[in-house]
């Protein structure tokens, strides 16, 4: 009974946390704009949390720079299970125009298991919402520690 309620609740209340791994701030603005009146992802129960310990879905933006890599790994390891990692924008997917730079150690898949990748520079809001819903499906599959 309780397991069923928890199972249902898990996809109804995704709290997101957002890590900037050397992003240009474009994707970050797009993510925050989703919480506004036009797209209003709060209708799915999304809440932007201030600390990784409250989060279910982690959005990573930016080509992973050498400076941010260790910090990003430490923050991601603090997110309690079950968690889903979403790479937002072209930068964490392929390093975009920063590929080959001396300070960039990406792409993100080299360091953490990525569940959903959203392309675009910056991604369209519809694409981000689509990625969010896909992330919810993956969250449903993952069994948590009780």
């Amino acid at each position: 009974m309780l397991d069923k309620i928890i199972e249902k609740s898990r996809i109804k209340s995704p709290w997101i946390y957002h890590i900037n791994a050397g992003s240009c701030n474009g994707c970050d603005i797009e993510l925050i704009a989703l919480l506004g009146p036009r797209f209003d992802v709060e209708r799915f129960g999304v809440k932007l949390t201030g600390t990784p310990k409250h989060a279910d879905i982690v959005f990573v933006t930016g080509p992973v720079t050498a400076q941010t890599k260790d910090r990003m790994l430490r923050v991601i390891s603090q997110v309690p299970d079950p968690k889903v990692i979403v790479s937002l924008g072209s930068c964490p997917m392929s390093c975009n125009v920063f590929k080959g730079s001396y300070s960039v150690v990406g792409p993100l898949e080299k360091w953490v298991p990525v569940d959903v990748s959203i392309g675009g520079c910056a991604p369209k809001p519809e694409a981000i919402i689509d990625g969010l819903i896909k992330a919810l499906d993956i969250l449903k599959e993952k069994r948590g520690v009780k």
Binding site: L2, I6, R10, D40, E42, R43, T51, H54, D56
Partner: protein
């Protein structure tokens, strides 16, 4: 047999009706209504009203991490103490003439118990060993300091007004205040106490910790302050405590200013109180939350020690001058 019956009745009061179960369900719905109302006021669709239930049960099913630096026992026990004390307050608040716990000084008990959830936040935050939490607890203590003074003055002015008519003294009993209101009309109709009612409405957001006065849990500056290291079930208990606190403050407002005998039927009285609490919370929490930004710490202290303190002082003086 008589002892057993009283014991069972007390258990019922604490665990089922005005106590834990009712507070859990109605507090969660109240929190959901608040989120929905804020969303509608900002022209958003907003989450469903059942959203706080989903949040709570998701947090129950999630892993919880205890930091290595934390002192484990205080870290895990603090949220539970906060929840227990706020549930016990709900037993002391009468529903339109129906007293669950008649006592001569229940306002003083409520005043003591109402600080414990804030104190549990302070204990839990300080035992988590995080730098953000230590900033958060200092801010939480400043907030506590700022709303306690006007709250005590409001309760004192109501106690004087009701007590002068009942037994000639200041009364600290919610039952006496209810009796006064059923004899002489509700307290909000006495014009000397209207400033006190406005001050009480301004205190509710600070007590609950919502936006203009949520300096302690500012998620954009200090990562949710004392809650920064909490996760899973224990975070869920804090969220539940906050929801129940919203319900308790709303019903305390109704009992103090709109009390009296109500209808003869207890179920009608409960429905009346629920509607009253919803209206109170929408006016004092949701409306304020949707139009204002967060104040600074000094601004919170300055605001509370000027506007609500002055309003409650006006009421206190007027009541002592027998208006």
């Amino acid at each position: 047999m008589e002892v057993l019956k009283t014991l069972l009745l007390q258990m019922f009061y604490v665990l089922i009706f005005p106590g834990f179960l009712f507070c859990f369900v109605f507090g969660m719905f109240l929190s959901g209504i608040d989120r929905k109302m804020v969303a509608r006021m900002q022209r958003r669709i907003g989450p469903p009203i059942t959203q706080p239930f989903y949040d709570f049960f998701k947090l129950v099913g999630k892993d919880h991490i205890i930091p290595r630096k934390a002192s484990k026992k205080a870290f895990l026990l603090a949220p539970i103490f906060g929840l227990i004390s706020i549930v016990i307050i709900s037993v002391f608040i009468p529903i339109f003439g129906f007293n669950f716990q008649g006592s001569t000084a229940d306002i003083i008990v409520i005043l003591y118990l109402i600080t414990i959830p804030a104190l549990s936040l302070v204990f839990g935050g300080s035992s988590s060993g995080s730098a953000y939490a230590s900033i958060g607890i200092s801010r939480e203590m400043v907030t506590m300091l700022s709303y306690e003074l006007p709250l005590v003055m409001i309760l004192l002015s109501i106690g004087k007004k009701a007590g002068a008519a009942i037994n000639g003294n200041v009364t600290f009993s919610l039952a006496d205040i209810g009796k006064y209101q059923s004899l002489y009309g509700i307290i909000i109709s006495k014009w000397a106490l209207i400033p006190a009612a406005i001050a009480f409405l301004l205190i509710i957001p600070a007590e609950v910790g919502t936006v203009p006065f949520d300096v302690a849990e500012a998620e954009t500056e200090i990562c949710e302050g004392p809650l920064v290291e909490y996760s899973g079930l224990y975070l869920g208990i804090y969220k539940l405590t906050q929801a129940v606190k919203m319900f308790v403050m709303g019903s305390l407002f109704i009992a103090l200013f709109f009390g009296g005998s109500g209808f003869s039927n207890i179920f009608l009285n409960i429905i009346l109180m629920i509607i009253g609490v919803i209206i109170t919370i929408v006016i004092s929490v949701s409306f304020v939350r949707s139009i204002l930004g967060r104040l600074k710490v000094e601004q919170t202290l300055k605001f509370f020690w000027t506007v609500p303190t002055a309003l409650s002082a006006i009421s206190l003086i007027l009541v002592y001058l027998k208006y």
